[in-house]
Symmetry: C2
Subunit: 496 residues, 2 copies
């Protein structure tokens, strides 16, 4: 999809202006350098030499090679692998046959014709470990690795005000802050290893955490304008936007992500108090709600339950009908509050909201079981109930009752920190602050126990081998949507 090609003139002009605003907000990246030096480190074939940088970095790498022995009478063939997590060191990329492209595996085969030589790799990598393996060379000399120079990048510097009441909470905060730091580049990226781009679902949680920590309002603003500037001919916001080699929206659509543009805008306005941006983007947010209405029948969201069309979580068995209905309510409420902020009439929105709330409750609440169910099979899941609790204004007691019932019913589990975040928020909304905090410490703490330097895209404490992609080699171990403990701690748990 290219910009403007299918857009009307009116739409195109608006788009252009939005993208120009986004462009002026493109940050200058902050570089910091780390140098590792080795003395006479001989590389041996089939014995990878692993360099540990003791933290997660995102950036560019140069390696200095030299030799001892006879002249270099044949090129050097090296395999250089970048790993965010120690588990990736064990992965053999030949064994990966999943549906997400193996081209995401951060592994290069490189020829060097002469030594000494500085190999300056052009691509950006995300890693804690670099594994350097000599695949082939002549037997007449030894290849030496003398040093590695890392030029790491982020749009923010380090944030040092660590919070937490326990050592574990402090460690969780450190790791969550690092996760966000690494994902804050020219845009908020979902993950610096994969997919390395701006996704709306991730942006909302990154922005929330950012308001309490790095406070880079301009980067959020830039991302909001990038989404608003690349809507399709129907005004729909794409779930993700590419910015290199040029700005282009993805030609896919994710129902819940597009709706949450309204919520992301509301959070931005509440924190940045930037009325100009609100004025610009409110019509775009409104358009998402209006477009979504087309998928409702008698105010109940139709069961278009395809992963790809809607998300909520990476649990592949999840029925998404009820949860998506709830996200609509959640987003429309945020839209209404923005309308009120600038004195626009909310009558039509409130009537619609009321209908959707009632119809949703009637359609999805199973009175016998006391929980929300979803789809023809009436599936019971955390996702449906968490989002219904977040979307509605039940009493704390009613919410707690839902959770109590849910715990007895073996619900479909949550597998992403993204879904876990909403679960924690729903517990808090149910007055279960201690339980919420305990759950946060358990879930994110289990990643700490797994030696996380940054939090993962996916973590199922019950099955650490889980991957929706058909293999773990492509997993992102530094993923934006998992950074929220730094928000949860500051916004809820440590509130004075």
């Amino acid at each position: 999809m290219t910009l403007s090609a299918e857009n009307g003139t009116q739409n195109y002009k608006m788009t252009k202006r939005f993208l120009n605003i986004a462009k002026t907000l493109k940050p200058k990246l902050i570089h910091s350098n780390v140098r590792k030096t080795f003395s006479n480190q001989v590389l041996k074939t089939s014995e990878p030499f692993v360099v540990d940088f003791y933290n997660h970095y995102t950036g560019y790498v140069s390696l200095d090679f030299d030799f001892v022995g006879s002249p270099v009478d044949a090129p050097i063939l090296l395999k250089i692998k970048f790993c965010e997590h120690k588990d990736e060191l064990k992965e053999n990329s030949d064994d990966y046959h999943g549906w997400v492209s193996k081209s995401w595996i951060q592994e290069e085969l490189i020829h060097i014709d002469n030594l000494p030589s500085t190999l300056k790799l052009k691509r950006r990598y995300a890693f804690r470990y670099i594994s350097v393996e000599l695949i082939a060379s002549s037997s007449r000399y030894d290849v030496l690795l003398n040093g590695i120079e890392l030029d790491s990048v982020s749009s923010v510097g380090n944030f040092d005000e660590i919070v937490g009441d326990t050592e574990l909470e402090k460690r969780i905060d450190v790791v969550a802050l690092r996760t966000l730091h690494e994902c804050m580049q020219y845009e908020f990226e979902d993950g610096p290893k994969r997919d390395r781009r701006l996704w709306l679902g991730d942006l909302r949680l990154q922005a929330l955490t950012n308001y309490h920590t790095y406070k880079n309002y301009d980067l959020v603003k830039r991302c909001l304008y990038l989404f608003a500037g690349t809507t399709d001919k129907n005004g729909r916001i794409a779930p993700c936007v590419f910015t290199s080699p040029k700005v282009i929206a993805d030609d896919s659509f994710i129902f819940d992500y597009s709706l949450l543009f309204a919520s992301t805008l509301k959070d931005y306005y509440e924190n940045a108090h930037d009325e100009k941006t609100l004025q610009d983007l409110l019509p775009v947010a409104t358009k998402q709600i209006m477009n979504a209405r087309g998928y409702f029948v008698n105010d109940v969201l139709a069961d278009k339950n395809e992963l790809g069309w809607c998300f909520l979580d990476w649990n592949l068995s999840l029925n998404r009908q009820c949860g998506e209905h709830a996200v609509y309510i959640y987003a429309e409420k945020d839209l209404i509050s923005l309308y009120k902020e600038i004195g626009l009439s909310t009558d039509e929105l409130e009537i619609d909201l009321k209908n959707k709330i009632k119809a949703g409750f009637d359609a999805f609440f199973d009175k016998k079981l006391g929980v929300f169910v979803s789809g023809e099979a009436k599936q019971i899941s955390f996702a449906s109930n968490v989002w219904m609790i977040l979307a509605n204004d039940f009493s704390e007691e009613e919410n707690r009752k839902i959770f109590e019932n849910l715990d007895r019913l073996n619900p479909e589990p949550m597998v992403t920190p993204y879904m876990y975040h909403h679960y924690i928020e729903a517990l808090i909304k149910s007055g279960l602050l201690d339980k919420a905090r305990k759950k946060m410490n358990e879930y994110w703490g289990a990643m700490i126990d797994d030696d996380a330097d940054t939090f993962y895209e996916l973590f199922n404490p019950m099955n650490k081998e889980e991957s929706p992609y058909g293999g773990k080699a492509v997993l992102s171990y530094c993923h934006a949507w998992s950074c929220t403990p730094s928000y949860l701690l500051r916004h809820y748990f440590l509130k004075k």
Copy 2:
């Protein structure tokens, strides 16, 4: 081995002056560009797309990639393979386990992060075919190869005066000239695929052919000074010299190659009439003869028959004692003729020569069989007899008798065009001009039948799968020492 480190001051100064002369003679390479364009060429995984350039080229390559479909949501992983000969297209580099480094295989695995993109490969390749294979990408778009830009290099332009009395001879001349053209870079290289550097044995034959064709005397001069400027502390010339990243001689030694420096200098002087260079380099040539004497016992070369210490041919079973003894005589004669050119006394050299000729004949000529034999096992080979014929001044009839006897005795065969060249010269010296020409047409003609665009490093018509390296994937199909038909045709066969 670094220059000067082990050299005395006197030697070092000389060395420095020689290398400065070599430096001033470094040629400016001639570039010529070829562009291939494709329309909507979709790359499919596991279906290599092979581009045929219809001739051998040495140079730098850029590839233009684009896409159709959804935005490029994952990097592209490509395997790009460069092949001089169609046989290489079938080779799987994973199957190569020979002792010459697999790093010579011209194959790259490359990630491209964004499309459209021009991939400018930094290394120089030698090839007729480029195979481009998509290893991995996302399924949401097709990868297109739009074009390949080739920037080919040589220190000489094309030589168009093709000779030969038959279509086959003309084709042999074209291919031999192309072989030499491709090997004439900043130095005379042995092969632009492998080893991509200056070897003394190859230089001698390249220079001979060059005098009758491209006539680039300066490039020969530069190479002579490079060898003379990088002798070791004993004044020994190395068999090969590296010039990148800096000028450095190999720390190995090949007996026959070092001796043939005298012959290479003689050929150069005869063709370029450059007395200054002769004056400079005659002491270096003399030193090789003097050093060689240390390996003789009672004027017979000791049987230090190790491949690596002496060469003659790539036949791994060959005993080299007799052939190497002959090379000494051959080189000493050339040295004597150079001494005479500038009026130096040759008395000592002539006495030594006479002794070596007599002792060699006595030691190696088997009177009963009527051929030269070599080593303790009295091995009968082409190499021993060819070199003895070239070194001595037997009558044409005596030479023919040796060849007749040899043909009956199932001698160790020749496997390189290098050895074949000397065989042809020995036939000519035996008055067998027609047979020599027939053999040339048969041997080099068989490579033409094998679809050669350039002549090979190695060719055994009896066993096309032969490789001294433990596998064919690393073979050089454009190798300098096989360019001599263009010399043989002009110097002997088509002489007016």
